[in-house]
């Protein structure tokens, strides 16, 4: 009789997907936009990205060691957090900024809440929020594309109220789509971000409920109430000018901090769109994508409690 038989519960076969394959797929999907950004803003963006990713990895290893956990840095989740954090930073900042941001993201937001799968808030976005509160000058000094001059982002110009449309900014929709404007490292190359998002969607990494709800809600409200008269707002500008595409496809789809069900994800997206519009229109900051996602992160457990899948 064979005594080496494995006895375990069904099922006995598994889909070939793991945390690592998913995380690395997202990292790969984000790389084109980063390369585009280095092309546009120069090498300083590259140093920021590399510093952020490397420090996130180092903090992950250190903290897992301290907690006596198995070090799981190869699953790519810390790399992804570091990458997303730096994508939310201006292209020229002192290099200790991404280090501090990564520490806050990994140590406080992720591990203090229990580690992978247990954090309430998106670590990268919470890291950015912390940096923005602590060092607002560094975090709001942006550079013009292909130029060392500092300039304001399109949304900041709009917030100041002196310039009210794209033409006065000397920009076209094409500029916005291909990254020819000031902004955070990862948010400007909209075309390449969408390419990455399509890759992830085809691969089945996320569904489009949250991103579409987010984008559609913001576009609708910007069109209806964003202009000088009712239904005259520039909704294309609203979609392309800030961090919406990066946020909607890559952060409002984060598994851990967004609802489990498709219906819940749609509600999450609508909430994000509303809050972003409110911040852009009436808030103190020109952009509200990150704060809207963080706020909706807080609502995620509530949404999961009340929005259940449809029973058979």
């Amino acid at each position: 009789m064979n005594n080496n038989l494995v006895v375990s519960t069904s099922p006995h076969i598994h889909r070939h997907e793991s945390t690592a394959t998913i995380m690395w797929a997202v990292v790969i999907a984000l790389i084109p936009s980063g390369i585009g950004s280095v092309w546009i803003f120069g090498l300083s963006a590259l140093w920021v990205i590399l510093t952020g990713v490397l420090s996130a990895v180092v903090f992950e290893v250190l903290i897992q060691r301290l907690r006596g956990q198995e070090v799981s840095v190869l699953d790519g989740s810390a790399v992804l957090t570091g990458l997303l954090l730096t994508y939310n930073l201006p292209p020229v900042v002192p290099l200790w900024i991404p280090v501090v941001g990564s520490f806050f993201a990994i140590a406080i937001v992720k591990h203090a809440f229990g580690g992978l799968g247990r954090n309430i808030f998106n670590p990268a976005l919470a890291g950015r929020a912390f940096l923005l509160a602590a060092w607002p000058t560094y975090m709001t000094t942006f550079h013009a594309p292909y130029d060392a001059l500092t300039t304001a982002t399109p949304l900041a110009l709009l917030k100041e109220g002196k310039i009210l449309n794209l033409a006065e900014m000397n920009l076209t929709y094409g500029d916005l789509f291909f990254g020819g404007r000031a902004g955070c490292i990862g948010e400007v190359c909209i075309g390449l971000l969408i390419l990455g998002a399509i890759f992830l969607w085809v691969r089945g990494v996320f569904s489009l409920h949250a991103p579409f709800a987010f984008i559609a809600t913001l576009a609708l409200f910007s069109w209806a109430f964003g202009g000088t008269a009712l239904f005259s707002g520039d909704w294309i500008f609203a979609i392309l000018s800030g961090g919406l595409i990066l946020g909607a496809f890559f952060m409002a789809t984060d598994y851990v901090t967004t609802p489990l069900t498709l219906k819940g994800q749609a509600i999450f997206g609508i909430g994000c769109g509303l809050i972003t519009f409110v911040i852009r229109k009436w808030g103190g900051y020109p952009e509200g994508v990150s704060y809207s996602i963080l706020m909706m992160n807080a609502f995620t457990p509530l949404i999961d409690r009340y929005v259940r899948p449809k029973r058979y």
């Binding site: 080496n4 494995v6 099922p11 076969i13 449809k310």
Partner: protein
């Protein structure tokens, strides 16, 4: 429901062969859902014939067992059972000289002359149970407490690797249809569907070649479409309420192999002592479908499908999604055994459970619309009521959640455990 890797190509084109008769058979007293056969009709030392009644029980929901060989009762003892650990089992040593007698056949006219009660009694006395794996006594299912309007014959065979129903449909479509006629007559319905998934084109062609009084329903291949509630929804768009049986919505479902067994019982007076079993896995040189006597130890079948290419790591009774891993190759085939799947080391994932990353795949794939990740999380904390709230008792244990889980959560294991905690 989801499309998953099927692996049916290993055996789907291989014709059914008779497995060599085993030297010893191990016939468990429990091969059905219901009261175990506690009244023995034979004793140790008795000479028995193929098809002879061995044991029965005095109850409505039960099904008698019969000898599957000519031979002598060696002992009656506790022996490994593929589902229930160990059960009381009649061990018969085959008499290699004895010739098996032919059964007395019934003509079509005689069968047509049988009353519904007579038919039901033949089916009961021949020990027919649901052959898809549930092993519910067929005569009980053929007497629904209220009239039904539709009968579905289940030829979906959605479990990966398994092809025994497929081969039966390809090789014996006429006999299956005769069996279906008998079932339809007993249930008094003309509204009969034969449901086959579109990954079985040969079987579909065979049915189309027959003169059909029934509706052939070709379904898109999806797992777990063969599960009763899913099949009823796919065919009739009717939903069976939670905790209820199909007759509540006017439907009865029978497996194709059960229809075949009913044909053999009624036309040939043949008790259920053999069935078709898929013996499969990449590990075998000659995987295939075999007509196997009930009680044959699976080690016999493994040697028939061999030689082996690698060392055995896991033996599964049934398919890979819902089958049960065995601790020994001494376990016998029972009436509900549709397949024996053997896996080698490189096919057996012993991955550790990781932290749930809330990807939602289990929820997206759950055919019952439950929240598997939350059920298992609740169960692992001992919160049985919360697990129930997330739909624990509606879980059919199809395994799609654990199959698609990227962090290898043993969701089905938690579900089974939690159910035992709640049922008391």
């Amino acid at each position: 429901m989801t499309k998953i890797d099927e692996k049916k190509e290993l055996t789907e084109k291989v014709s059914v062969k008779n497995a060599p008769l085993p030297d010893t058979v191990y016939i468990s007293l429990v091969q059905h859902l219901g009261k175990p056969n506690d009244l023995l009709d034979v004793g140790v030392g008795d000479i028995v014939k193929t098809g002879q009644l061995l044991a029965h029980a005095d109850a409505l929901v039960t099904s008698p067992i019969h000898s599957s060989v000519n031979g002598k009762v060696l002992k009656i003892t506790d022996w490994p059972h593929p589902v229930l650990g160990k059960t009381k089992t009649i061990v018969i040593e085959r008499d290699k000289e004895a010739v098996e007698e032919e059964f007395v056949l019934r003509s079509k006219e005689e069968v047509d002359g049988l009353s519904i009660d007579q038919l039901r009694n033949i089916i009961k006395d021949c020990g027919i149970v649901g052959m898809g794996g549930a092993t519910f006594p067929s005569h009980v299912k053929l007497a629904p407490p209220k009239p039904i309007d539709s009968l579905i014959i289940n030829g979906a065979e959605c479990e990966p690797y398994l092809t025994s129903d497929n081969r039966l449909m390809v090789e014996n479509p006429k006999e299956i249809l005769e069996g279906v006629c008998i079932i339809a007559k007993i249930l008094n319905t003309a509204n009969v569907y034969i449901a086959v998934e579109d990954n079985k084109p040969e079987a579909i062609k065979e049915f189309k070649n027959q003169v059909l009084d029934f509706k052939l329903k070709v379904l898109k291949t999806q797992y777990p479409q063969g599960a009763e509630k899913q099949l009823i929804y796919s065919v009739l768009k009717r939903k069976v309420p939670s905790g209820k049986l199909p007759f509540e919505v006017g439907v009865v479902v029978h497996n194709v192999a059960t229809a075949f067994a009913i044909f053999e019982a009624v036309y040939k007076n043949k008790p259920l002592y053999e069935r078709i079993v898929t013996v499969t896995g990449d590990i075998f040189e000659n995987p295939g479908n075999f007509k196997v006597r009930i009680g044959t130890p699976i080690k016999d079948l493994i040697s028939i499908a061999g030689p082996l290419k690698k060392e055995i790591k896991k033996i599964i009774m049934g398919g890979p999604m819902m089958g049960i891993a065995q601790g020994t190759d001494e376990v016998p085939i029972i009436k509900g055994s549709s397949g024996v799947l053997v896996l080698a080391d490189d096919e057996v994932a012993e991955a550790e459970e990781g932290a749930c990353i809330r990807c939602g795949e289990c929820i997206k794939n759950c055919p019952m619309g439950l929240s598997p990740a939350l059920i298992s999380a609740a169960a692992s904390k001992g919160k049985w009521d919360l697990a129930k709230d997330y739909g624990l008792l509606d879980c059919v244990e199809c395994g799609l959640c654990a199959y698609s889980c990227p962090v290898n959560k043993n969701i089905v294991q938690w579900v089974k455990y939690a159910k035992t905690k709640i049922k008391r």
